[in-house]
């Protein structure tokens, strides 16, 4: 489904990697590894089409990725949480869904927030949340997410132990439903289901 | 050396904790634990004197902490890296030392940067560094740090495995030299030396 061919990444004057390629099929997780600065984030941004690669090509279902169809299949979660500090967790979830052209009912959203352990904080503006709670709001998107391709940049950062386990479960469920995922993390996390393939940079 | 008595923390309308107290002596590490939103960051900001507690008192060497002497003994490292994106790692280190009224020679600074694995990147503006590399620049301060009290808020975030080990070593060394440290982290980290005391919030 997701193929990368002969990718090359140059940041500034540094060639981070070259000749990188992989294939990822339904139900598979690509676990990107590498030391700090190896180019993991850069690779992810290439895969979502925001950073044009210096050379090489990326295909989704056999088509180049610069298309609306690809983006309709993609769910990306970066370093940044993409939540508005002024809005409450609930408003954030609903607004994000509307802007991404997805259907999400209020009940579903409340349900998702409960799952990420934010019950009782739906109506508090996000600026008052702790580091980890903000991350949880961002992750709440994944609860109802049906899109097949998930790309997650260090999703476990700032989460406590319980939340890490919960998220690992969510990713497993996605893989079991035939989804694909690409993920980086420096923490040791056990994804219970699905085929995990590793790719080491640098 | 560092004592807290009967501390109470109220954020917004929520009482995060109350009646919290501890004593920390030379060579000891206080390892703060607790789920997301338990109030760890809030407690640390009380300990450094930026957030006035709702009730209770904090003393350093028997004196209340709102004094220049306390701050001369304190080294705090927060969520944020406190580095300037336009400056190079080297310039950042030197400027930080000058502003904190510390002596730091250029050689020492270069040496510290080499230790955190940024050799060869001393002259690259920090905005080009990866997430983990930026964190390493912030941590480079600790290499030459002689102040007795270290307060570290999630110092291991964004670090790769090698860097986590290195930092654990640095903290051990500090404790062995008779320093004190207060730290939070959600990752499992093994600090090889010194007395580790745990405090669980929430």
């Amino acid at each position: 489904m997701l193929e990368a061919d002969n990718l090359e990444c140059v940041r500034g004057e540094r060639r981070l990697f070259a000749g990188l390629g992989f294939r990822l099929e339904a139900g598979e997780l690509l676990y990107l590894q590498g030391r700090n600065g190896a180019g993991k984030t850069s690779l992810l941004r290439m895969l979502i089409g925001l950073l044009p690669p210096e050379a090489g090509e990326i295909r989704w279902k056999g088509q180049p990725i610069r298309s609306d169809e690809f983006r309709a299949d993609l769910c990306y979660l970066g370093h940044l949480n993409a939540i508005k500090e002024e809005l409450t967790p609930l408003e954030n979830l609903l607004a994000a869904a509307r802007l991404a052209d997805e259907e999400l009912s209020e009940d579903d959203a409340i349900d998702a927030l409960e799952q990420v352990g934010l019950a009782g904080r739906e109506d508090l503006a996000c600026k008052y949340l702790s580091q980890g709670q903000k991350r949880r709001v961002a992750l709440a998107r994944l609860v109802k997410e049906k899109r097949p391709l998930w790309i997650l940049d260090e999703p476990f950062v700032a989460l406590d132990v319980a939340a890490v386990d919960w998220l690992a479960g969510i990713i497993s469920g996605h893989l079991q439903r035939g989804g694909l995922a690409v993920m980086t993390t420096h923490q040791l996390v056990n994804i219970p289901a699905g085929t995990v393939r590793e790719l080491r940079l640098g | 050396m560092l004592e807290a008595d009967n501390l109470e923390c109220v954020r917004g309308e929520r009482r995060l904790f109350a009646g919290l107290g501890f004593r920390l002596e030379a060579g000891e590490l206080l390892y703060l634990q607790g789920r997301n939103g338990a109030g760890k960051t809030s407690l640390l900001r009380m300990l450094i004197g930026l957030l006035p507690p709702e009730a209770g008192e904090i003393r350093w060497k028997g004196q209340p902490i709102r004094s220049d002497e306390f701050r001369a003994d304190l080294c705090y490292l927060g969520h944020l890296n406190a580095i300037k994106e336009e400056l190079t790692p080297l310039e950042n280190l030197l400027a930080a030392a000058r502003l904190a009224d510390e002596e730091l020679s250029e050689d020492d600074a270069i040496d510290a940067l080499e230790q955190v694995g940024l050799a060869g990147r001393e002259d690259l503006a920090c905005k080009y560094l990866s997430q983990g590399q930026k964190r390493r620049v912030a941590l480079a301060r600790l290499v030459k740090e002689k102040r007795p009290l270290w307060i570290l808020d999630e110092p291991f975030v964004a670090l790769d495995v090698a860097a986590v080990d290195w930092l654990a070593g640095i903290i051990s060394g500090h404790l062995q030299r008779g320093g004190l440290a207060v730290m939070t982290t959600h990752q499992l980290v093994n600090i090889p030396a010194g007395t580790v005391r745990e405090l669980r919030l929430g």
Binding site: G12, E13 | K127, Y128
Partner: protein, 251 residues
């Protein structure tokens, strides 16, 4: 097909670099020749203007500089369009190489205009349509340079700068006409460019000086673009060869 191939070949820095290197001396020489001829005609031979006295001789700089400042912006916008359409690396470099010269030309136009205005109109500056447009043009140049300088990544700087140039070039006619209209609506002309019927020598002197400015601008832009090329392409083999081989001898 063949044309396309050629376009891409010359737009590639590796071929353009040596080509520019051989062309520069010619443009410098032409510029000097035209300049000397123009000065000789304009300063030594041309007669006094019966309305403006000798002061009119500023025209031999003022008009070429004004023309160049406008042409250079158009040329930069042209390069920007090529760059955004075909994604050629050369275009951004050329635009960046031209900008400082364009800004200097705009500045010279203002400076000489001001020095001309004082004796002719009794004021260093009036808010006339032409003058105002030229000032705005200078701002546009500076905006372009500030923007590209603020972006560190060369490729991104080229794209953003190109976009700005195109937006600017769409706006220049609008700005020009709006300013013109604004001015004529307001006041009867206290400012009158009394166009004396020009003596033939004057005309020739002015044209020669304009040629001199053209050649100068081309030469200096080529010089600048060669440096930019080395800087940007330093990881390519041709630059390494250039640096290890003959670089340093020629300019």
């Amino acid at each position: 097909m063949k044309d396309r191939f050629n376009l891409y070949r010359f737009a590639s820095p590796a071929t353009f670099y040596p080509l520019a290197g051989t062309l520069i001396p010619w443009f410098v020489a032409l510029s000097v020749v035209f300049g000397l001829a123009g000065l000789w005609l304009g300063m030594l031979v041309a007669p006094t203007d019966f309305q403006q006295g000798e002061g009119y001789r500023i025209i031999f700089i003022h008009v070429p500089a004004s023309w160049m400042s406008m042409f250079i912006y158009l040329i930069m916008a042209g390069w920007a369009a090529i760059g955004l359409a075909f994604n050629t690396r050369l275009s951004g470099m050329m635009a960046q190489a031209l900008a400082p010269t364009g800004a200097l030309m705009a500045f010279l136009s203002l400076w000489t205009g001001a020095l001309w205005g004082k004796p002719m109109w009794g004021a260093w500056w009036v808010w006339d349509a032409r003058l105002t447009s030229e000032l705005i043009l200078l701002f546009l140049y500076i905006g372009y340079m500030a923007l590209t300088a603020a972006i560190d990544d060369a490729k991104r700087a080229d794209k953003a700068g190109g976009l700005l140039l195109l937006v600017g070039v769409v706006n220049i006619p609008i700005i020009y006409f709006s300013v013109k209209w604004w001015n004529t609506l307001h006041q009867g002309s206290s400012v009158n460019l009394t166009k004396s019927s020009m003596a033939e020598t004057m005309l020739w002197g002015m044209l020669l000086m304009a040629m001199c400015f053209w050649m100068y601008s081309i030469a200096i832009a080529l010089m600048r673009v060669r440096t930019i090329m080395l800087e940007r392409e330093r990881h390519t083999d041709w630059v390494k060869a250039e640096l290890l081989g003959k670089a340093g001898e020629g300019k």
